[in-house]
Symmetry: C2
Subunit: 84 residues, 2 copies
Amino acid sequence: MPRVVVDVMLKPEILDPQGQAVANALPRLGVSDVSSVRIGRRIEIEFAGEPDLDRAREIADKLLANPVIEDFAIRVVDAEDEHP
Amino acid sequence: MPRVVVDVMLKPEILDPQGQAVANALPRLGVSDVSSVRIGRRIEIEFAGEPDLDRAREIADKLLANPVIEDFAIRVVDAEDEHP
């Protein structure tokens, strides 16, 4: 069953302390070639019927993202693709 | 510049109260055809040079995901593609 994936990330100009904390911890793991880490949210929405992108956009806009500090992108993925 | 994206989601058998809260709020928005909402994390890692998937996997395994309750998937995306 295809699902709609909403990716929510802080806008590039907004500081991301959580990502920064991870980036700062990397040298202790012996990793020195990472220039930036940004942490956002991935939301998977499953519809009872066909995936509805417009509906998903409305949900993202009203419930999932804060448009003042965050951007979001919406796409349909097959259940097998890119599922963790 | 391509970046590595790590998607971290709770394993399917683990309850997701945050996603459940969103799903429960949807009828108040007039949305009744959503069967499930799951909320995870999306981490974008930028490398100083070429993206290094093995390195990213090591970072995800040690820092970003809790393998007891979470699964993760790693992929390289172009900066323009699917960026919120």
